[in-house]
């Protein structure tokens, strides 16, 4: 049987290694994955983790997997992936480097595995130190009768101008309060524009783009923009005619600007 195994795997497996592997198999369910198995195997080398022989470890692990196979124990995929990779690593470490081959050398791969093992072991060590600390509710205690902080809740109410306007609009759109129902949605009339601008030009001391006189709500929908722009422009011309404002445009299609005409 031992000979068979030897031939089958083509690996040198010492009796001790096989026994180790067997011992692990019994408890395979208790392992937290392949790194855990590797750490446990590494411990049997009885050396500092930093000095561990990755080659030997790979061998030990492969023996473990072989053993599981002969015992018809199915290992999770992770364990098999690790086995395949360690077999690959082993060949890399044993064979002279192939100059054609790209990627990290066997030594680099082995070094990273050693790092992973050392790091996992370090995490386990500090986890144990952490759990051994004085702990709240076990070694030190919080106040037994906490006094509740009375929350005095003060509610303030608020509303925005928009809320206010919407509320008013809602009321006014009800029934008899709809005197403006004839207005067409997308038409901003010349009268409207004139009325609006008369109120505003007092502030136009500086050259201002006339498009800034387009009222809010008329600057999104294209039909409304067109209507509002046309009527605002017409109203501006009207105001020029009245001698109240000046208009200018630096070139064709440039913004048309407006300024209050100072009284002489």
């Amino acid at each position: 049987m031992a000979d068979d195994e030897f031939e089958e795997t083509g690996q040198v497996i010492s009796v001790a290694e096989r026994l180790d592997a067997e011992a692990l198999i019994v408890d395979v369910d208790g392992f937290e994955g392949p790194l855990d198995v590797l750490l446990t195997l590494g411990r049997t080398q009885k050396v500092d983790l930093t000095k561990i022989s990755i080659l030997e470890l790979a061998q030990q692990y492969l023996a473990f997997v072989e053993r599981a196979k002969t015992l018809r124990i199915e290992l999770a995929a992770d364990y098999l992936v690790m086995a395949a990779w360690l077999a690959f690593l082993k060949s890399r470490l044993l064979l002279p480097p192939d100059p054609e081959e790209e990627g990290p050398s066997g030594e680099e791969l082995a070094a990273h595995l050693a790092f992973q093992l050392e790091r996992l072991q370090a995490m386990r060590d500090v986890a144990a130190r952490l759990m051994a600390r004085d702990r709240l509710g076990r070694d030190f205690f919080a106040r037994g009768i906490p006094e509740s902080v009375e929350r005095v809740k003060k509610v303030t109410y608020t509303a925005t101008l928009l809320d206010l306007m919407q509320a008013y609009s809602r009321l006014r759109t009800r029934d008899e309060f709809r005197p403006y129902v004839m207005d067409r949605d997308a038409v901003f009339t010349l009268e409207h524009a004139l009325e609006r601008m008369r109120g505003l030009i007092g502030f136009a001391g500086k050259w201002t783009d006339i498009s800034s006189y387009i009222p809010e709500g008329w600057d999104k929908d294209p039909a409304r923009i067109r209507s509002a722009t046309a009527s605002t422009f017409a109203a501006s011309l009207e105001l020029v005619k009245e001698g109240r404002v000046e208009l200018r445009q630096s070139e064709t299609f440039a913004p048309i600007e407006l300024r209050r005409k100072e009284e002489q």
């Binding site: 205690f141 919080a142 106040r143 037994g144 009768i145 006094e147 509740s148 902080v149 009375e150 929350r151 005095v152 809740k153 003060k154 509610v155 303030t156 109410y157 608020t158 509303a159 925005t160 101008l161 809320d163 206010l164 306007m165 919407q166 509320a167 008013y168 609009s169 809602r170 009321l171 006014r172 759109t173 009800r174 029934d175 309060f177 709809r178 403006y180 129902v181 004839m182 207005d183 949605d185 901003f188 409207h192 009222p215 809010e216 709500g217 008329w218």
Partner: protein, 226 residues
């Protein structure tokens, strides 16, 4: 404040014989820790039971009590047991005021809007515009927020009081005066008056008394748009 010379020999005390009581300073620490952590007042008997052999909780309590005299925490007797409590004069610290901001109710905002647009206005007039009665609570809330106040009485029969908006109201909404409120036309051009439900949704949608209003508004606009 360095009253406790006892404390220095603490460590030594612990290492000494099991049958010798710990120094009184140490006993005081023990009572302090037990009272602090206990969920209930603890009797002297129980204290002694929990403390090392030979300890005298009653004496330790005398010291502990003195130590906390005038502090933010006191050692108090509750029945025949002992507990630690925050000093009563600091009870105000056990309150935490939080301010929660809520949106004004629909009734309140509508009432407020009507007052703002029509001030000075009587309650009856508000009700006429809203089409529903205005609850006392709504008006009181707005008065309390100091967004409205009483204006002059109307020179009409019964001389009803009127409501007007306040400076606080103007400040809150960023208005110079109530006249700066956008007019109906502006509301319309801002798209605020276009909130009509689609014609297909015509029969009885919406809530309560509003329904009727909206429906007829719709009927009207359809008439005109045709």
């Amino acid at each position: 404040m360095s009253e406790d010379t006892q404390e220095t020999d603490l460590e030594a005390g612990q290492e000494e014989s099991l049958f010798e009581a710990p120094p009184i300073g140490e006993q005081e620490r023990m009572v302090e820790a037990i009272l602090f952590a206990s969920a209930e007042p603890v009797s002297v008997k129980e204290l002694n039971g929990r403390m090392p052999h030979g300890a005298d909780a009653a004496e330790a309590l005398v010291h502990l009590r003195k130590r906390y005299d005038g502090r933010g925490v006191r050692v108090v007797k509750v029945g025949d047991a002992w507990a630690m409590r925050t000093a009563p004069d600091l009870s105000f610290l056990m309150q935490k005021e939080t301010v929660e901001t809520r949106k004004l109710s629909r009734a309140a905002i509508e009432t407020l809007a009507i007052i703002a647009y029509h001030q000075p206005i009587t309650r009856a007039e508000i009700e006429e515009i809203r089409g529903v009665s205005v609850s006392r609570g709504t008006v009181d809330q707005l008065l309390e927020m100091e967004w409205i106040r009483f204006g002059r009485r109307k020179m009409t029969p019964g001389r009803p009081v009127t409501f007007v908006v306040t400076q606080d109201f103007l400040d809150h909404f960023g208005l110079e005066s109530a006249r700066d409120l956008p007019g109906l036309k502006e509301l319309r051009s801002a798209g605020l008056l276009d909130n009509r439900p689609p014609p297909s949704a015509m029969p009885a949608l919406g809530e309560g008394d509003e329904d009727a209003g909206e429906e007829s508004a719709e009927g009207q606009s359809e008439l005109f748009e045709d």
